[in-house]
Subunit: 141 residues, 2 copies
């Protein structure tokens, strides 16, 4: 991502993550996330309401069998001249490096004070390496 | 969808649609939409900014080879006690029935006055038949 795109993404509070199983059955969910360096995003298995336990999430099973994912960041306005979005494509995996996971957890806690309540210490974190993005609109504003 | 879920979805101005090709490469985009009867959603190929012509959209190519899609509707609040979402799963296809397409176009124009500018008369419309949904949070409020 270029600098304007990265800055636009950094300003967003949520994104929407699509994963798919190997048969192409997709699921899309809102996610909280933090921007790492080199076009990496981190999104945790947090304690926000879910219908199943975090380790049973469909998104995790999908990533395990098919790491190809897409995340969109967008702002809606009734003035459609102000619409803006960034669509990203990348590869997702559960973080296994303990140091990187710790750094990512700290970044997430810095961005979202809510994680004092909603994130377990040592929670699993998904790492998404973005390989391609498309943007439109007031991304630089 | 039950009545509360349908009403929550109807109140939303946008959803996020995930499609995937048959290899499981997904793309997620913000969409405008209208609710039809019997758990059907309509989303048009409108004239909002896109990086390619409407008929070249990746979502269309994906639906053609893999009709299985997911759409999420959610409201974000910094008070995470107020988060709410509905995740839906269904089958998508380009509308071929002229009467249904006309009705859907009218519904979309009623919901979004912006379409006076941003929707061509007779524009292609995607029909999504929802087969399953999951919801959480203040969906009934």
């Amino acid at each position: 991502m270029n600098r304007a795109t990265t800055e636009f993404v950094s300003r967003q509070r949520i994104g929407h993550l699509a994963t798919a199983d190997r048969s192409g059955n997709s699921v899309v969910v809102p996610i909280c996330f933090a921007n790492g360096e080199n076009d990496v995003l981190y999104t945790p298995l947090d304690s926000k309401p879910k219908s199943v336990a975090p380790n049973k999430l469909k998104r995790l099973a999908n990533i395990d069998e098919n790491p190809s994912v897409s995340v969109v960041f967008d702002t809606y306005s009734e003035d459609w001249n102000k619409l803006a979005y960034v669509i990203t494509f990348g590869e997702a995996a559960l973080l296994t490096d303990a140091d990187e996971r710790n750094r990512a957890e700290n970044m997430l806690r810095d961005k979202y004070p809510q994680y004092e309540t909603y994130l377990s210490v040592g929670a699993p974190i998904i790492r998404i390496k973005i390989s391609r993005s498309k943007s439109w609109g007031l991304v630089s504003n």
